[in-house]
Symmetry: C2
Subunit: 229 residues, 2 copies
C-alpha cells in the first residue's frame, strides 16, 4: 500500500490515536479503492468481511424489503459504515452504493477484531464511534415517528443551512428522490413539501434552496438537540 494511502487512513479519527504496531496490523490487509457513481459496494445479508470507511465522496446506505427500498443514511468523508456487523461478525443490515465518485478504505473485519482485542486505544475509538452511530439511529427513529414529513423536511433544510454556516443558498448534495426516500416520503410528496415550506421562509428554484427567513423556518421546524443534534 502506497504511503499516500497510509497517511489518508491515519488521518481518520478512528485511527488517529492508535499505536504504530496496531496501525500496521490494520493496514496490512487493507485496500483503498476508487469507485464510480452508482456502484453497489455491499449488499444486505452478506457476511461483513470488511469494515468500510468513506475517504472521499458520498455513499448511500439503503435497505430493501419486499421490493420496497428506503434510504437509511448518507455517508461522507471519514464516515465508517457497517461497523456493528464487523464487530459482531454478523451479516450487513443495509446495502451501500456510491452516489458520487468515491474513494473507500476497506479493512478486513478479522483485523479490526484482532486489533480491537489488543489495543485499548483502538477499542476506545471503536466504542465511541459505535455509540455515536447508535445515537444517530435513535435520532433517526425519533425523527420518523414524531414528525410529519413536512416537519422532517423543514428540519433537514435547517440542518443543512446551519451546517453551511448560515448560508442563504443551499445546494443539495444528493438527488431529491434519495432525499425523499431518506425522509420517508415519495419524490412527488417532496416536491409538494418544498412548495409547502414557502410560507415558512424557504424558497426553491430547481436545485437551489434559499433559506430567506431562517427564524421563520426554525419557528416551524422546532429543531431539538435530542433529535437533530
Amino acid at each position: 500500500m502506497p504511503q499516500k494511502h497510509l497517511v489518508e487512513i491515519r488521518d481518520n479519527p478512528l485511527f488517529a490515536s492508535i499505536g504504530a504496531e496496531s496501525f500496521a496490523a490494520l493496514t496490512r490487509g487493507a485496500y483503498v479503492q476508487n469507485f464510480p457513481p452508482h456502484t453497489e459496494l455491499i449488499t444486505e445479508g452478506e457476511a461483513a468481511d470488511f469494515l468500510h470507511i468513506v475517504s472521499t465522496g458520498c455513499v448511500e446506505l439503503f435497505s430493501i424489503w419486499q421490493g420496497r427500498e428506503t434510504s437509511m443514511s448518507f455517508q461522507t468523508e471519514n464516515s465508517t459504515f457497517i461497523l456493528a456487523a464487523t464487530i459482531k461478525d454478523l451479516p450487513y443490515l443495509m446495502s451501500a452504493r456510491t452516489i458520487t465518485k468515491s474513494r473507500v478504505i476497506m479493512i478486513p473485519s478479522q483485523d479490526i477484531r484482532g486489533v480491537f482485542e489488543r489495543d485499548s486505544m483502538f477499542a476506545k475509538s471503536i466504542v465511541s464511534e459505535l455509540a455515536t452511530c447508535y445515537r444517530n439511529a435513535i435520532k433517526t427513529a425519533k425523527n420518523i415517528k414524531l414528525r410529519t414529513s413536512l416537519e422532517r423536511l423543514a428540519n433537514y433544510i435547517l440542518k443543512l443551512h446551519l451546517a453551511q454556516g448560515g448560508r442563504i443558498e443551499l445546494e443539495l448534495a444528493v438527488e431529491k428522490r434519495r432525499i425523499a426516500s431518506f425522509l420517508g416520503m415519495t419524490p412527488e410528496n417532496l416536491s409538494r413539501s418544498f412548495a409547502g415550506l414557502k410560507s415558512h421562509g424557504v424558497e426553491m428554484d430547481g436545485q437551489v434552496i434559499k433559506v430567506v427567513d431562517a427564524a421563520k423556518l426554525e419557528e416551524f421546524a422546532h429543531p431539538n438537540a435530542l433529535i437533530d443534534g
Copy 2:
C-alpha cells in the same frame, strides 16, 4: 450492598466474564432498587449519571417532541438501557418509565467508564452490547420505513408467537396503547388492524391473541432476519 444483589448483578451477561477487581469497582457505587409501575426513571435530555439495567420487570423507553409521545422499546430482564449516553457522557435521548413493578440496577456512569478503560474483557462486553443495540435500532427504523402498520403488527405477533415456542394463545405483556405507539400507530388503528389480521390467521378476544394459522400469518408478514432477527 447485600450479597444477594451482587450475585444478581454478576448474573448479567455484561458482567459475567469480568475480573473480581473490576466487578468490585463497578458495584461499589451501585444501587439496586424496586420501583412501582408507571414510575419515570429517567427523562430525556438529562445527564447520564447512571447506567441502568433491568433486573426484573419491564421498562418502557419513550420520547416526546412537541407534545407528541412515542414508545421506542420495551426492556425486560437483563437489558441495559442508555448505554451509549453513559459511554459518551452525553444526555439521554430517551425517557424511561416502569410498566410493571421492576427491579433496576443502577451503576454510576463514571465507574462504567473507568472500568471500561482498565478491563478489556468488560470493554468487549460493552462493545458487543452496544453493537447489538445499534443493530436493533437499525432494524426498528427499517421496520417503520419499509412496512405498513398492518405488516408491522403481523410481524410483531409472529415474533411473539415464535418467542413463546409456537404457542397458539398469546397474552400481551403491555397495554395495547403502548404497543400501538411502539408500532407507530394510534390505539384506534391498532384495534382495526387486529380485525384486519383475521383473514391472515389471527383471532383476537380481549387480551388474548390466538394465532390459529401461523403459516398464513407468516405468508402475509414476510418476516426477515435483517429486520426481525
